[in-house]
């Protein structure tokens, strides 16, 4: 192919298509990425706000909190405080990428490389996503959830449904399985269930039904909460997934409420891998768009102007202000992720003696894409940083670790980017990305089903950090609503 893919900032669908093919060529054949087919949708800014406020999903059940988020985002956007994201990408198969119509053509190219290949590859290959999310089924599940919630509102009243959803949302972070997969009914039990259903259908069979005209179609919510799934005593205590426990064991919930809890916790579980891989996911996508855009330029497919526009927005995305800069608001996952990916490439291609000592297994191997693809597939943020953050990069970012004790007047600097501090600084940073440590550790300890029906939860403090007091009481009220009886939340002494 000769000549530029596009000359100016304007885009049209033919140009998008041409550019997509050029990017695809590089991504699949040169970088060896493995992606879901992509479905690229061009949307307006209002639709982008819509997507923002419904957990970035194309369809979502109705709830006031999404309206609140929309109102907030909209007023921030209209006042010019925030710019909209250039893209939104959904972990589904086909992988849906939203492009904002206002983007210029170089930006559309960047976004396609970033989302349709970067994120897409990560979603398809990372072990967390493979294990925990169902890219094939998520859109169908969401459309089921939307219809189900709407049907419940129709049947049981909007208020009722809203209250249940409020309480379920309050427990969303406590609605995931962190260490084990949810127990599945055994094969035998599933077969037994099918047999029982067939038996029931046979008993309930009536020739008369077959003569009814096709029009009779009662829009009843599908009854999914099978009675035998609710048998108590099946769940083992302690249980970390509070929503799951309530769904299965709450003495007061009605079947449709259980189903709503199930919907909310399914979504929480679906998003849980994203929370654990922010740095890697963004780092992977940013590294890929950076590599692809530069390749496009090298191949003479985009102009210098387009490359400069891309570099401008790329640098602002991976900008990392220092901690004492007024613009500082935490470590930028794009910056850290991109820097780590670029650093791995450097180590693979031009290692120093220090790199050889730290990363003997791949320093100087030359084939950085194999190293990266392996990292993207088999790590999450915490283990990735623990494994791949190099002393070189720690010096470059000038990372230093601090110790904070509540009540003390000052932070102690414990480790800095020097020979003695590399490992400890890196370990401290890795722990910051351990979602299991960032979320409070709350478990269902026991439930007194005989007399008072009180539910006992325990909070296990990590290094003595307590729960935020007011929110603790508010969430406890929500749990009480779902449990239907008293709920106690006690601190457990850390071992």
């Amino acid at each position: 192919m000769t000549g530029l893919l596009f000359n100016d900032a304007e885009w049209d669908f033919a140009t998008l298509d041409r550019t997509f093919r050029a990017i695809e060529e590089i991504a699949l054949n040169e970088l060896g990425l493995d992606v879901y087919p992509s479905q690229i949708e061009v949307i307006s800014s209002e639709q982008m706000l819509d997507a923002y406020s419904s957990m970035a999903m194309p369809l979502m059940y109705s709830h006031w909190s999404f309206g609140k988020l929309f109102a907030r985002e909209e007023s921030l956007y209209r006042a010019g405080y925030t710019a909209l994201a250039y893209e939104v990408v959904i972990n589904s198969n086909p992988c849906i990428c939203y492009l904002l119509e206002e983007n210029t053509m170089p930006m559309q190219a960047l976004v396609m490389a970033h989302a349709a290949f970067g994120h897409n590859h990560f979603f398809k290959n990372n072990y967390l996503f493979q294990q925990w999310t169902d890219a094939e089924g998520i859109l169908d599940y969401l459309s089921f959830a939307k219809r189900y919630v709407a049907a419940c509102e129709e049947r049981y009243g909007r208020e009722e449904v809203e209250l249940t959803l409020d309480s379920a949302h309050a427990l969303m972070n406590e609605g995931v399985f962190r260490y084990r997969r949810p127990p599945r009914p055994s094969r035998e039990r599933q077969r037994e269930k099918v047999r029982a259903r067939l038996r029931y259908e046979e008993q309930a069979h009536n020739e008369l039904w077959r003569t009814l005209p096709a029009g009779v179609d009662v829009a009843a919510p599908p009854a999914i909460a099978d009675a035998d799934e609710m048998e108590a005593g099946e769940s083992k205590l302690p249980e970390e997934n509070i929503l799951y426990f309530l769904e299965k064991n709450s003495p007061s919930l009605r079947p449709w409420q259980r189903e709503i809890l199930r919907i909310v916790r399914s979504l929480a579980q679906y998003f849980y891998p994203q929370r654990q891989t922010k740095v890697m996911n963004e780092g992977c996508a940013t590294f890929i768009h950076y590599t692809i855009m530069n390749r496009l330029y090298d191949k003479g497919l985009i102009s210098e102007g387009a490359l400069l526009e891309f570099l401008h927005s790329h640098t602002s995305v991976v900008f990392q202000p220092d901690f004492d800069d007024p613009r500082f608001s935490g470590l930028n996952p794009y910056a850290l992720g991109f820097a780590m990916m670029a650093d791995i490439k450097r180590i693979a291609e031009h290692p120093t003696a220090e790199d050889k000592e730290w990363f003997g297994e791949f320093a100087g191997c030359g084939d950085y894409m194999t190293v990266l693809r392996n990292a993207w597939a088999n790590y999450r943020d915490e283990s990735f940083i623990e494994q791949f953050l190099s002393p070189h990069l720690m010096r470059q970012l000038r990372l230093f670790a601090l110790h904070d004790k509540a009540g003390a007047g000052a932070y102690d600097v414990t480790h800095i980017h020097d020979e003695r501090g590399y490992r400890d600084t890196r370990a401290a940073l890795a722990r910051l990305y351990d979602v299991a440590l960032a979320d409070p550790n709350i478990q269902v300890a026991r439930a007194d089903l005989q007399s008072s029906r009180t539910l006992y939860l325990t909070f296990k403090p990590h290094r003595g950090v307590p729960l935020h007091r007011t929110s603790k009481e508010q969430v406890r009220a929500h749990i009480r609503r779902l449990w239907g009886h008293d709920v106690e939340l006690e601190d457990e002494r850390a071992d």
């Binding site: 997509f20 061009v42 608001s329 990372l399 509540a406 414990t414 980017h417 729960l467």
Partner: protein, 436 residues
């Protein structure tokens, strides 16, 4: 295998439902905020989108979270070290956890107040929410000329434009399934096989038998396709509509405004603003309310909306001319049997001497018996407001009307001295009665 989809033309307002849910949820706070923000607003600004700031109390979404400021210890990592070595101390910023960027980032706090933009419709809805025209009665049920079309299910007969495609196709599909209408693909497969057999030059006897069988089968299927139609008249369904009468209660609002020379520009402006609000209220809440605009100096005339709000005129003051005009119009066009009659009068309270008594007589004898509600708004300037601090003292018309108000419970008097009075006065005048 990439699809590009242009979604820009998809229906807008996907999250409108969520927005309405949110507004309903935060109703109480929003109402307070709207009223606070309207207090000092010019009336012209009412029908305009505006920012509303509410607290997140009623709409908070609590989650369990950790509070490192409260106890315990933790480690964290920051970028950009320039001078520190292990063992150094960095002073914590004062006042607990509000440590600029770094702590806000770690604790995720900071959503106490919440500002967003509401559209004009949403604001007016909330402002007029609990207001109504007092004493409105259903006057004429006999005159139900108003009719509206309502959906009334599905029928088997109707106009082609009302065909319900989904139902029709569903019926057609199930009938085709039940009667086993052969699909085109099915026939094509047979035809292809036939063609292939015919193409072979030396035909074996079993092939010939097969050809014969195929021909018969194709013929049979073709015939079947003919008598099992794709869409049969019995499949067709239509949307049905019925006409339904709407019971109406007709109401007319007479707006009487003094535009004489004694009313300064400021007073006229205030009166106009009041009527604008009234007009907006009626337009929004009552589909069928006639509004009659009458302005007067020493002489009254009926004018249209444009003229009423925007033209200038000046002269002496005879309030009773406006009342005369109102009576005249009422007799000509608005029979009391069919109409609820309302009036709102705005004036600075000065009229030709002796005219006030004349007005009271007219109201007492002729107008008040007709009216459901009569509101009198006196426009003062701020100095006068201080002078007439008590309800008892006031200009001639005010004193005369005060006496009238004691006799007629549906007669109300209020005073406006500054723009910020308009909204509270308006709300007071049209507050919904507690007991119906």
């Amino acid at each position: 295998m990439t699809h590009f989809i242009d979604r820009r033309l998809n229906p807008k307002g996907k999250s409108l439902g969520n927005r309405q849910r949110f507004l309903r949820r935060a109703r109480a706070q929003i109402r307070d905020a709207v009223q606070k923000s309207l207090k000092d607003a010019a009336v012209g600004d009412v029908d305009r989108a505006r920012k509303v700031k509410i607290s997140t109390r009623g709409t908070s979404e609590p989650r369990f979270r950790l509070d490192p400021a409260e106890g315990g210890e933790r480690d964290f990592v920051l970028p950009g070290n320039r001078e520190y070595t292990p063992g150094d101390e960095i002073k914590k910023p004062p006042s607990g956890a509000g440590g600029g960027g770094k702590d806000a980032a770690l604790s995720g706090d900071g959503e106490d107040d919440f500002e967003f933009t509401m559209t004009q419709d949403e604001i007016l809805d909330i402002f007029f929410e609990d207001l109504e025209l007092p004493n409105l009665v259903r006057t004429t049920l006999k005159e139900t000329t108003q009719r509206s079309w309502r959906r009334a299910g599905i029928t088997t007969a109707g106009a082609p434009t009302q065909i319900n495609l989904v139902r029709t196709m569903r019926n057609s599909f199930s009938r085709r399934l039940a009667l086993r209408r052969p699909s085109l693909a099915e026939i094509k497969a047979l035809v292809d096989e036939l063609d292939e057999l015919l193409g072979k030059t030396p035909q074996l006897p079993e092939q010939e038998a097969r050809i014969l069988a195929l021909r018969q089968q194709i013929e049979r299927l073709d015939a079947r396709r003919k008598w099992v139609a794709f869409i049969d008249p019995i499949d067709v369904r239509f949307n049905a509509f019925t006409e339904q009468p709407i019971p109406t209660s007709q109401a007319v609002m007479f707006c009487l405004m003094d535009v004489s020379g004694s009313m300064g520009e400021r007073e006229k402006e205030l009166a106009k603003r009041f009527y604008m609000l009234l007009h907006l209220f009626l337009k929004r809440r009552y589909e069928k309310v006639d509004v009659v605009f009458i302005r007067h100096t020493h002489d009254a005339q009926e004018v249209d909306e444009q003229e009423f709000f925007y033209s200038r005129q000046s002269g002496g003051t005879i309030v009773s001319t406006a009342l005369d005009k109102m009576l005249e119009i009422q007799k000509a066009r608005y029979a009391t049997a069919d109409w609820n009659i309302y009036a709102a009068q705005a004036s600075d309270g000065f009229t030709q001497s002796g005219d006030a008594r004349h007005c009271v007589e007219m109201l007492d004898a002729q107008i008040m018996p007709l009216c459901q509600y009569y509101a009198y708004i006196e426009i003062l300037d701020e100095r006068e407001m201080e002078v007439f601090a008590s309800e008892e003292s006031g200009a001639e018309l005010w004193r005369a009307y005060r006496a009238l108000a004691t006799r007629w419970p549906n007669f109300a008097t209020k005073r406006i001295a500054k723009p910020s009075d308009i909204f509270p006065v308006f709300r007071e005048l049209f507050r919904k009665e507690e007991s119906g």
